[in-house]
């Protein structure tokens, strides 16, 4: 039962998978693994990484508008709205409307998280660069960004 144990007991490496040469497969698999790692890092503030990133932006650019968040986080407008709803529920940000624009401000409770958020970011950075090496991970990040920019439609 060698074949069976190969398939079942051991986890297949991404590089061995039949479709490993395909960017869909690789980028998604990588993103999922990183997502998990990131969730660990931000667990202490009870926030999903996306929410945490948004909060960090709101703290550093108080009054920032959803459109700007869309640009900076490369997420869809509706996604930003949903993230904001959750952060507002948790009393970490508030939205003020004036005309058609909305401004997002951190609440005092949100601002208080700043140092913890910084620590989470640091923790996350360390956790992947220890596994992957600082240089390698920096290079990978750079080339992923380059590719993302090229794919701008």
């Amino acid at each position: 039962m060698q074949i069976k144990s190969f398939f079942f007991v051991q986890q297949m490496k991404a590089a061995e998978s039949k479709y490993c040469k395909c960017m869909y497969f690789s980028s998604n698999a990588l993103a999922r693994k990183i997502e998990k790692l990131a969730q660990e890092s931000w667990k202490v503030v009870d926030l999903n990484p996306s929410h945490a990133y948004l909060l960090m932006l709101a703290i550093e650019q108080p009054g920032i508008q959803p459109t700007a968040l869309v640009e900076q986080l490369l997420l869809a407008p509706s996604t930003i709205t949903r993230l904001l709803e959750k952060l507002e529920e948790k009393k970490l940000v508030i939205r003020t409307n004036e005309g058609k624009t909305t401004s997002v401000y951190p609440t005092p409770k949100g601002k208080q998280l700043k140092s913890q958020l910084d620590k989470c970011l640091e923790h996350f950075y360390i956790s992947y660069s220890t596994i992957l090496g600082k240089d390698d991970s920096a290079r990978l990040v750079q080339s992923m960004n380059k590719v993302t920019d090229k794919l701008r439609s």
Copy 2:
């Protein structure tokens, strides 16, 4: 209104974003862009890329079991179940149970899609490698896979 137009009209490049140096950000942004590109490629068979990949595996390895699909697609078991449910609804695969194991077979209707599926894969490959260059994209895929494997916990 130069600043305004910068923020609002032009989309910010991933490499300019405040958190671009972070792997969470880059890997997710890339995966989302690639996802979109892939969806385009598989639209003609009315399948999401994940479903398409699973179907391709079922065609090439008839009788394949969910566990093997988990290994090869690096997805959670429950996700595989859900993908299978949908493919079964569409009468593209069938599941047979024997004891605790399940075997997945393509239906005739599923098998008929093979050549179209191959074309979709080809189309997708061409669409990203024209934008990114064959060598660059191959290199990127390779390093993403390497990283994914290292992150195996």
